[in-house]
Symmetry: C2
Subunit: 240 residues, 2 copies
């Protein structure tokens, strides 16, 4: 190994796709970022694995066989292939965006990415403080969708707004009196969602149209990936 | 303690609400099932806790202070209140239902319960083999919604259908060519969803109308709670 293998941390310049299916997505969708593939000595030589190894060869990605990487990166032991890939700085393209303000949970972010890609939203703005997009738990929960999107971090919502002033802004918040079913989404638009526990601050109503997904009083709120997914479905089904 | 405290298992006649917020929901929504409340010696006497203890007194639920229960039931140690409650056999009422066929993940089932209650679906059929509704991880992921619903297990889909032959049946499956946006839901109806990994078997098309939530080919599928939530939102928004 050229450099010492380390458990993922935010300040590394690379991250890891844990598992064969995820590594396969990495090699298909972002082969230019793949640095190497670790192969466990106990990995079964399935057809899927042979296809994966063929992709490595095609992309010139070195394959290292051995178990040490797995002890360090996946101590639970149900993982036999790991893809190491370089983080890339990406910039949002103009168009419709998903904007997550202070998301804190890795699994939630990954699930939102998966749905976003499913509904054709490929640009994701994340306002800090927020969970790390490249956390391997995000990559895994996204089921590989993370390799499809352009995710860009902003220090404040104002930074985001000043870059994309032309977008219509729809802020999903419980404080709104406008039910989702009545909204006509006009592209390009931004769908904004707040933190899991606290939602969007009231002040967002001063620069966004607000929207609520009506639900019964028997629950406090929908969970964040559920609310975001319903919103993305509705916006995509209605928008051109 | 009258009986020996045991870690949750499927064959116990009771289960546990882990945490103060969840125990509060238990005492509010299903006090008749609450058997006792365990209070950690380090629990802070917040206003919320005092309200919870007042509910215990009102419902005649004994409170035991001590730490042993927490070592056994919540070894991770971030939980200071546990509510023990009796499992109740429940039967579905006639009306619209959510039908989960072979769900396998506790967190997913809990998340679906939360959304179902949010959209007014209070009757849930579960076809075995399936995750245990009373698993404390289900109760926790439901954020207390589990205490609102009638959940009933069936050994086969035929058992369910023979009890509710009058319901319109909408089976959500990738093999369908009918997009969700074109469906007119007619109540009473049943929304059917398959296992996380395998979905619904093809044969369901012979006794259900099939529906698909259109998504791009860049993902294999939406995850189960996301698909179920979008379907419940759409059905509820369209049905009377």
């Amino acid at each position: 190994m050229a450099e010492k293998l380390r458990k993922y941390k935010h300040d590394l310049d690379h991250s890891y796709a844990l598992g064969a299916a995820l590594t396969y997505e990495l090699l298909r969708k972002a082969p230019q970022t793949a640095r190497r593939v670790y192969l466990h000595t106990a990995a079964e030589r399935t057809e899927g694995l042979l296809r994966l190894l063929a992709l490595c060869e095609k992309a010139g990605v070195p394959v290292e066989t051995g178990d040490k990487a797995f002890h360090i990166l996946s101590p639970k032991g149900n993982c036999f292939v790991i893809g190491e890939f370089a983080k890339e700085e990406k910039r949002l393209l103009p168009g419709s965006h998903i904007v997550l303000v202070n998301p804190s949970d890795a699994g939630n972010l990954g699930t939102i990415l998966r749905t976003a890609v499913g509904f054709g939203f490929l640009d994701l703005a994340v306002v800090r403080p927020a969970v790390d997009f490249y956390d391997p738990r995000v990559i895994r929960a996204s089921m590989g969708a993370a390799f499809h999107v352009r995710a860009e971090y902003f220090d404040s919502i104002e930074d985001y707004l000043s870059r994309f002033p032309e977008n219509r802004r729809y802020a999903f918040m419980l404080q709104s009196s406008v039910p989702l079913g009545t909204v006509r989404f006009e592209a390009p638009f931004s769908l904004l969602f707040g933190n899991e526990a606290t939602g969007l601050p009231d002040r967002f109503a001063s620069f966004c149209e607000t929207v609520v997904i009506p639900h019964s009083r028997d629950i406090d709120s929908l969970n964040l990936p559920i609310a975001a997914s319903i919103a993305m479905y509705a916006a995509r089904a209605l928008a051109p």
